[in-house]
């Protein structure tokens, strides 16, 4: 799209992993495409896996005059702070970031609020009283999700026991499956994850075992195992990205801690309605109530 502007508005995204993970990174890439389509601005994307590459990517985008740069993960906070002092003209948005500094601002998703709701469902539905969580790498948002999931389950059933397994890997689906199967072996019948592509193996393990159910993360993952996914803790990354991009383009953006929880609608717990029959009505009502009260607390 040709626009008559001296310096065209441009948006860049740096992801820490492949955008084909059907979760964290793919959501961000979709967000970038939304920005391109809705605002008609040029966009660019780079995958950068190491701290050095990440800093270099941010710096190069700023150097090239990109106005808005998304660093997709807490790990971009430090590099962005270092780079931003040299390029005050660019806005750096760090998803899951920590704090505001200059023109660096975090975009926080309280996914754990949705994971808490997922945990409640799990706590109510579990027959064995044991739930399991598979994490990719033990990052802060991953740990928060895992803790909220357990807390949610215990809120419904204080007797619930839980186990957590880490893979140290985001790509290895076969390993994800083995981790899930090991959890199932010790009795877990409700599984949740935050392991990106590796989690596909978790869904597979659930599909293989009668009576085991699983909760998606980051995106609505019901399609991965329609008969086993009870619900997903979802981040509507595209919506959040677009929101920020509009502000920055319009010149109204003020660096701040932008945090999205259930109240914003950007983070949601999306039940798989095909399996509604498995969730007792009373439990569903309790989950809805909890959701409302969290929204209330979040609320403006």
């Amino acid at each position: 799209t040709a626009r008559e502007a001296p310096a065209p508005f441009r948006v860049a995204l740096v992801t820490p992993g492949s955008i084909a993970d059907a979760a964290w990174n793919s959501g961000a890439f979709t967000g970038l495409n939304w920005i391109h389509d809705s605002l008609g601005v040029p966009v660019s994307h780079v995958e950068a896996r190491t701290p050095a590459e990440q800093e270099e990517a941010l710096r190069t985008y700023a150097e090239q005059g990109y106005n808005l740069v998304f660093g997709h993960g807490f790990e971009f906070q430090g590099p962005a702070e270092r780079v931003s002092t040299e390029y005050p003209g660019a806005v750096f948005i760090i998803t899951s970031g920590e704090r505001v500094q200059g023109n660096v601002a975090p975009l926080i998703f309280r996914l754990h609020e949705a994971s808490y709701l997922a945990g409640m469902v799990a706590g109510g539905v579990t027959k064995s009283g044991m739930i399991g969580f598979v994490g990719g790498v033990e990052l802060p948002p991953v740990r928060e999700a895992s803790e909220a999931w357990v807390a949610g389950a215990r809120a419904v059933n204080p007797q619930v026991r839980s186990r957590t397994t880490y893979l140290n890997n985001w790509d290895d689906a076969a390993l994800g499956r083995e981790a899930a199967r090991a959890l199932i072996r010790v009795g877990a019948d409700m599984l949740h994850h935050n392991a990106d592509a590796a989690a596909i193996g978790v869904f597979q393990a659930a599909r293989e075992t009668q009576g085991v159910y699983v909760f998606g993360a980051n995106a609505d993952q019901a399609a991965l195992a329609p008969a086993q996914v009870l619900g997903s803790a979802v981040i509507d990354l595209p919506r959040a990205f677009l929101l920020v991009a509009r502000e920055v383009q319009g010149g109204t953006f003020v660096p701040r801690v932008e945090s999205f929880g259930l109240a914003s609608g950007v983070v949601q717990y999306v039940p798989n309605h095909a399996l509604d029959s498995l969730v007792p009505a009373a439990l569903a009502a309790r989950v809805r109530a909890a959701e409302d009260s969290i929204r209330q607390q979040d609320g403006p």
């Binding site: 059907a22 793919s26 890439f29 033990e138 026991r161 880490y166 076969a174 090991a182 010790v186 597979q204």
Partner: protein, 305 residues
């Protein structure tokens, strides 16, 4: 819970994890016995996985296995053309082939299923219990109630052993790997023999990749082999360049990995990183305990100018 049952389940997992490793390692034994280190098997496995996924999407699991094998052979052919045909360094060639494979599988996958399109979920091969044997205590399920790919592994490992140590082509392969000059003096074509060995190794790596998809995860993800090719190469050394040894080493590694997850799932209060180290440390101890003393084929890795 019944400890016997838990142990049995861990063994089931161990054999499952070991199957693709043993297949790939057996293929690599063949290549290395001919004097060729093929680091491209990581790429061949990845292509085998993608081939398995595409084949199974189009025409079912059996086709998936076939396409996976074919894909592995094609990757090995690229490796062979550069490393054996042109005589380029084997290690760099293997690395480059793997790098290109990571990219190509990703690109092809996105062409088929969309840039962010997972959603692909294939039916996996279900375990086939073998009558009577599957009822054995402890090991019955682990060894005899597995998907067909595990039984293929049971057949292929001794078959490759037989090929290498009891047939003339196998003798030629070993001669070329030990002493190309002597082999040439005996009338063996060094390059041709190596090419065949590498292609056969590629077929097994492809099968290993297809196994990951069709017997385990039921879908393809980018980089899903996650370094299994390199582990397979370690297993070759651990198994002393013998298919049967490699099969056992793969089992050991599978067991250590299964144990690792079992321990994490047991909820012990130990940093999980120590469990992650377990398979590798265990292997190291096995090596120190005299298992790993072996002699590499004398001409291993030396390209033929």
């Amino acid at each position: 819970m019944d400890p016997m049952a838990v142990a049995g389940d861990v063994l089931v997992a161990a054999v499952g994890i070991a199957t693709p490793l043993a297949l790939a390692a057996t293929g690599e034994v063949l290549a290395e016995r001919s004097g060729v280190v093929n680091l491209g098997i990581e790429g061949a496995m990845l292509f085998g996985a993608l081939g398995g996924a595409i084949g199974a999407t189009v025409a079912g699991s059996a086709t998936g296995l076939g396409v996976g094998i074919l894909a592995g052979v094609l990757v090995a052919a690229l490796f062979a053309a550069v490393a054996i045909g042109a005589g380029a360094d084997q290690i760099i060639t293997g690395t480059a082939v793997t790098l290109a494979s990571v990219g190509l599988t990703g690109t092809i996958y996105r062409q088929f299923y969309g840039p962010a399109g997972v959603g692909l979920s294939l039916p996996t091969l279900s375990p086939i219990p073998i009558p009577f044997l599957a009822d054995l205590p402890l090991i019955g399920d682990a060894l005899f109630a597995q998907p067909v790919t595990t039984y293929l592994m049971y057949i292929l490992v001794p078959l490759v052993w037989y090929l290498l140590f009891r047939t003339r082509p196998g003798l030629a392969v070993r001669a070329v790997g030990e002493d190309p000059t002597a082999a040439r003096a005996a009338g063996v074509s060094v390059r041709l023999t190596r090419a065949w060995a590498v292609l056969a190794g590629g077929a097994l790596a492809g099968l290993a990749g297809a196994t990951l998809v069709l017997a385990q995860v039921g879908t393809f993800t980018e980089r899903m082999t996650a370094g299994r090719g390199f582990i397979a190469i370690a297993i070759v050394v651990l198994g002393r360049w013998n298919p049967v040894g490699a099969g056992l080493a793969a089992l050991l590694f599978g067991l250590a990995t299964a144990l690792q997850f079992a321990l994490q799932a047991a909820g012990l209060d130990v940093p999980y990183q120590f469990f992650l180290m377990l398979p590798y440390l265990l292997t190291l101890f096995a090596l120190a305990g005299a298992v790993g003393r072996g002699q590499a084929p004398a001409a291993l890795g030396k390209s033929e100018g």
